[in-house]
Amino acid sequence: MQRNSLHSVIQKDNSYLSKDKITFTNNVFKLNRRQSTIFVIAVTLIFIIAVIVSGYLIDERKLETNLNNKNMPPTLSNPFGTDWLGRDMLTRTIKGLNLSIRVGIIAASISAIISLLIGICAATMGKYVDSVITWLIDLFLGVPHLVIIILIAFMLGGGLKGVITGIAITHWPSLARIIRAEIMQLRSMDYIAISKKLGKSNIWITINHIIPHVAPQFFVGLLLLFPHAILHEAAISFLGFGLSPHQPAIGIILSESMRYLSAGRWWMAFFPGLSLLILVRAFDIIGNNLLLMYEPHRAHE
């Protein structure tokens, strides 16, 4: 009884939000959309942090060759099974996910910074610079990403450097376009014109008026670059251009597993790939939820 009345009080309090309410199974906790968005972000963030932390805490001995224990299907002690050298697949997968996160963070950050600089240049440095940059964006979108990354990996002779450079160089155009359009709109605002009349230089206006405005766009765009960066890293390692076979990358694990699939060792491919999928989805969820909070008028989509 008491529970019910409490419930009705909460409902009354939030009645103006009733349309956006998300009901969890427990009747007492009703979260509005903003709260549930924060909740989802927090849970997902904890998951990602857990992956990173366990990558450092993990028992390295499980990566040693153990031929007594090779090709084991999933058991309690090896939840993801073992590979043909008896190494624990769960340990290898977590190591691989960590590598993916690192590559993703570095490549996506470089890419986002490139797009910020290029977006600002296109929108503030006049017509010619703008048309050159628009053309450059067309050039980069005109060749399949994977082909450019293969070409760059070829130029740099493979390795981690090749992968990161390849991903960083191919992923900036879409975000650069968004930032350019955003600044184009800002440029015609009254306060920018007033600032100009007050004698502020273009650089001063860019730093003090424009960059703070595009900062949220920039960070959300950066987060939404992560999933693409991680997927491309895995793809390029899978094709054999990225990391050396000794490194524990998900792409390497999966390309190795192909040799054993016909022998029915499904766990070598299934779990590592599924973990990567969940990780990518987690970054995607955080990015999209931040976008919802940043642009509430689009939140009901």
Partner: protein, 330 residues
């Protein structure tokens, strides 16, 4: 419609393409020249120890690799203008012939995937958009977002495990059965090897078009003319057909043509998983084994492929859509 304007439009686009591809030639040639992978070494392969310096120089001289890069570029650029892309080192055949054969294989794969992902994506998008915020919409949306985060090659591996390894319905790899001449391969056998990679690519291609269609349909359904139609008593499939589909079909077709780049990238991965002998696999081989002429040709070819997709998309938009038809005046 003014035919002069169309011709002008096409010529304008073609000039842009020529400039784009010329610059691409310069950049990719420069990149390949900076690679630490020595094409002569890559060509000789394991026999490197048995080749004397003299023989090495002869091979380099035969290909003109001892000349300065600028001269090399000039020779290469003028020969590709004439249609000579050189000889592929790994297939020991004219690059253009290799690309032709491989691309026909890939075209079957990409075409099937392109068609089915377009159809199913559109249908799912329509269903999700029409039943917005119901359980069916939520399921479709969830599946699309998850599929969009799925590594293409892993998805291919899973299909391979289920359908080829466990159910034994499909062969595990290769575009044709081993030990059979190309001419003797029957159509059925080709189809048999095509199904799994095509299925992978089709399903991976669905989210893009479905989410886009869903959003467009929701926008349309919120418009005033739909509200008016509803007020007149239209509903269900009829309303969807008369006011929805007609408005969203064109953007969907355009988007599908503009997605050639993703399909090409996806086919590289799918072909690698299923050992399908197409252009994607040739790209990977050319990159790993240092087949420079083939790699450069594929870069240029893929750019032309993507460009033609974008051109068709743009063209359809301008020709078919009466609202932005070319050369119209108020």
């Amino acid at each position: 419609m003014n035919s002069k304007k169309i011709i002008f439009y096409v010529i304008n686009k073609l000039i842009k393409a020529v400039i784009l591809i010329s610059v691409l030639c310069i950049i990719s040639f420069w990149m390949v020249k900076n690679s630490p992978i020595d094409p002569v070494r890559a060509y000789i392969g394991a026999d490197m120890t048995r080749v004397s310096q003299e023989q090495y120089n002869k091979i380099a001289n035969y290909w003109g690799l001892d000349k300065p890069p600028i001269i090399q570029f000039k020779n290469w650029f003028f020969s590709i203008i004439k249609g000579d892309f050189g000889t592929s080192m790994i297939y020991r055949n004219a690059v253009l012939d290799v690309i032709r054969v491989k691309f026909l294989n890939s075209l079957m794969l990409m075409g099937t995937a392109w068609f089915f992902s377009g159809i199913f994506g559109f249908v799912f998008g329509c269903i999700a958009g029409y039943f917005q915020n119901t359980w069916i919409d939520k399921i479709i949306k969830w599946f699309c977002l998850t599929l969009a985060s799925t590594p293409t090659f892993w998805f291919g591996l899973i299909l391979l495990i289920i359908f080829a390894v466990y159910l034994g319905l499909f062969p595990i790899g290769l575009g044709v059965p081993a030990g059979v001449l190309t001419e003797d391969v029957s159509f059925i056998s080709r189809l048999h090897h095509l199904i799994l990679p095509a299925l992978t690519l089709s399903i991976i291609g669905i989210p893009n078009i479905a989410l886009h269609t869903r959003q467009k349909l929701i926008d349309i359904l919120e418009s005033e003319f739909v509200l008016f139609a509803k007020a007149r008593g239209e509903k269900g499939i009829k309303l969807l057909y008369r006011h929805g589909i007609r408005n969203i079909a064109l953007p969907a077709v355009t988007l599908q043509f503009a997605s050639f780049s993703e399909i090409f990238g996806g086919s590289i991965l799918a072909e690698q998983v299923f050992s399908y002998p197409g252009l994607g696999q040739a790209t990977v081989q050319a990159g790993i084994r240092g087949d420079v002429p083939l790699l450069l040709a594929i870069v240029i070819f893929s750019a032309m492929f993507v460009f033609s997709g974008n051109l068709i998309a743009d063209f359809i938009y301008r020709i078919v859509d009466p609202r932005i038809r070319l050369g119209g005046s108020i």
